[in-house]
């Protein structure tokens, strides 16, 4: 139940590998946040620094305004659950009991706390069994119980559900959510799977190449992604982009992608100072498609229809450009001509470098 503050933390492995670059992050007391990003973005390094497994090359770590950078994991009282399910060669009960045993907690209290933790995880019925013989899902529950039983300052979860069967995954997500809610437990979840991050966390820190790009609520990340990377990373599939030039024609301001243009007259004032070359972004699920001609819409030919889960992903070609549209039901077939529109409130404009303008 702790607020965590990372102040300008940089970490370099060996001599050259800069895993973390001047990252500053404040995690509110009692919140569940996710560190999200592709492999190698620095999320695991960040977590290990918070855990105390790693001393940062530079920068400080604070728990509730106390500098803990030099303190061990034990002293910080953090709990960590790994992707690789860690189980000791003992019974389930002894596994959960271990951290309390080490801290010399009196027997009666130990038994009480272990039983409580086991009940929370739904594993009270296997307490006397050898933990190593159970299936991965149950084993991870034991690991979670063991982490929980210590009443830690912060729970660190490193992609813990990757090696677990889908049924248990759902159960564990529910348990994690409840733990956090009922106990105001500060939790940090590391993952490369946006579904986990979007489902569980209140805020997500999207990272890339050692830098924290945007730290925001899932809604904000989805609606107003700060740069093209975040916009592309969040969403299935993510946002698509077109290179455009800002042009003026008959008094109206247009973003011209070559094969089509979008009217941006009402925000032209904000755009002009960023130069002529801008990027236009729109999410495939926001692209409007119709088989009938509509005023103001442009036409494109459908070159591929892909089924994506329960929806359809259409690839629409116009000239050299390809537009992807995601819709629930369609009678559009490959080869058909369709009419396309980008609703203006869903369009996002980015600088050439990828930063959000509007």
């Amino acid at each position: 139940m702790v607020e965590i503050f990372l102040d300008n933390v940089t970490h370099i492995y060996g001599k050259e590998v800069k895993a973390l670059d001047s990252t500053t992050l404040r995690i509110e007391n009692g919140s569940l946040i996710a560190l999200l990003g592709p492999s190698g973005c620095g999320k695991t390094t960040t977590m290990r620094i918070i855990a105390g497994l790693l001393r940062p090359t530079s920068g400080r770590v604070y728990f509730d305004n106390v500098d803990v950078t030099e303190r061990s994991s034990q002293e910080r009282n953090v709990a960590m659950v790994f992707q690789f399910i860690v189980i000791y060669d003992k019974t389930v009960f002894e596994n959960i009991e271990f951290p309390l045993l080490v801290r010399k907690v009196p027997k009666e209290e130990r038994i009480k706390r272990v039983k409580h933790a086991a009940e929370l995880m739904g594993i009270s019925n296997v307490l006397s069994q050898q933990a190593r013989r159970l299936d991965p899902g149950t084993r991870q529950k034991v690991a979670l119980a063991r982490a929980f039983v210590r009443q830690p300052t912060v729970f660190l979860l490193d992609e813990p559900l990757t090696n677990v069967d889908p049924q248990t995954r759902l159960e564990l997500r529910k348990i994690i959510k409840e733990l956090q809610k009922d106990l105001h437990q500060t939790m940090i979840y590391v993952t490369h799977d946006q579904a986990e991050a979007l489902t569980l966390s209140e805020k997500i820190a999207v990272m890339k190449d050692g830098k924290m790009i945007q730290y925001d609520t899932p809604e904000a990340l989805y609606d107003k992604p700060k740069n093209t990377f975040v916009a592309w990373f969040i969403g299935n599939p993510g946002m698509q982009f077109f290179d455009t030039s800002l042009k003026q024609s008959d008094g109206a301001f247009l973003l011209d992608a070559g094969e089509f243009s979008v009217d941006v007259s009402n925000v032209s004032g904000q755009l002009v100072k960023y130069g002529n070359e801008l990027k236009l972004g729109i999410r495939p699920e926001n692209v409007q498609v119709s088989s009938q001609k509509k005023v103001g819409w442009f036409n494109a030919k459908c070159t591929m229809v892909e089924r994506v889960g329960n929806m359809y992903l259409l690839t629409l070609s116009k000239g050299r450009l390809e537009i992807k549209a995601k819709i629930k039901e369609t009678d559009v077939r490959e080869g058909d001509t369709t009419w396309v529109q980008f609703p203006s409130e869903k369009v996002r404009v980015y600088t050439k470098a990828g930063e959000l303008i509007i």
């Binding site: 855990a51 105390g52 497994l53 994991s73 034990q74 953090v78 709990a79 960590m80 790994f82 690789f84 860690v86 000791y88 060669d89 003992k90 271990f98 951290p99 080490v102 801290r103 050898q130 190593r132 013989r133 690991a143 063991r146 210590r150």
Partner: protein, 290 residues
């Protein structure tokens, strides 16, 4: 030849050394069993004796003394090797520099020929001029009659075995420990366990199967011990260090009781078989549980 495939052909070729080895083992083995039922001293002719040799064996007090000595030797040596061996492995795990130097030094006793080791230690254990008594005197302990008195001789053979094979226990245990996932140690660290506790309660149990295998190998080896002891003490003084293999050898090659020698050998084979079966079942069970 419908199902002959690339894989089957390779299997056939792999069988050839098996057949060869089997032939080389079965024939001598069969001979030993055969002659164990005969009264046969060198120079004479084999006379069928039924179980006469076996009765002689089981009423031979020297046989029981040998059996007792061998078992004591095995228990003492293996016990000490495990204690020191795992202790050294603990140290190896916790030093970061000098590990390769330490490993190279540890290997030295292992690579020495057992017979040569026996000879060297005989010199070292010499009561008058040996190195052991010399260094003991430097720290104020009076010299012992190492190879002269029975108990001291027994102890000295155990010391040599421990000297030579503790590194084996250490290095194999260490190798096993390196295969363990680092998250195991990290989790224990985060849980607050001390280094010693992590080693004892978390890491060692994980390599239980490997430890059983080391135990298994060492017990077999010590029961069969011959080279080092024979060159160091010859089985003496008297019969103070006459272990099973030496007893067998003396009867066969020194006294030339071929028949009786074979009987001892046959018994020994059966004994070893029983021990191996029991121990390998336990090792297998531990392995399976992992």
């Amino acid at each position: 030849m419908k199902k002959i495939s690339f894989r089957s052909k390779t299997l056939f070729i792999a069988l050839i050394p098996m057949i060869y080895l089997y032939g080389l083992v079965i024939y001598p083995f069969a001979s030993v069993i055969y002659y164990s039922f005969f009264s046969y001293d060198i120079g004479g002719t084999p006379v069928f004796n039924g179980v006469g040799n076996y009765i002689q064996l089981f009423t031979d007090t020297q046989f029981y003394r040998t059996l007792g000595l061998t078992l004591s030797y095995s228990i003492l040596a293996v016990g000490t090797e495990f204690l020191f061996g795992i202790g050294l492995a603990y140290i190896l795990v916790h030093i970061s520099r000098g590990r390769s130097v330490a490993t190279s030094i540890l290997i030295l006793p292992l690579v020495m020929t057992p017979a040569v080791a026996g000879i060297i230690w005989r010199i070292m254990f010499d009561a008058g001029f040996g190195h052991v008594n010399f260094y003991l005197s430097l720290i104020g302990i009076p010299g012992q009659k190492w190879l002269i008195r029975p108990t001291e001789a027994f102890i000295s053979t155990v010391i040599v075995d421990v000297w030579q094979w503790t590194p084996f226990v250490t290095l194999v245990t260490f190798a096993g420990l390196t295969t363990l996932p680092v998250e195991l140690v990290e989790s224990a660290y985060i849980d607050g366990a001390s280094e010693f506790r992590t080693f004892k309660d978390i890491l060692l149990p994980r390599i239980r199967a490997l430890l059983y295998i080391i135990l298994f190998l060492r017990v077999i080896d010590t029961l069969k011990i011959f080279d080092t002891v024979y060159t160091m003490t010859g089985g003496g003084p008297g019969t103070a260090t006459t272990y099973m293999s030496i007893f067998n050898y003396l009867n066969l090659m020194t006294f030339y009781h071929i028949g009786y020698g074979c009987t001892i050998a046959a018994f020994f084979i059966v004994l070893m078989n029983v021990v191996v079966t029991i121990l390998s079942k336990r090792a297998g069970a531990a392995l399976f549980a992992t």
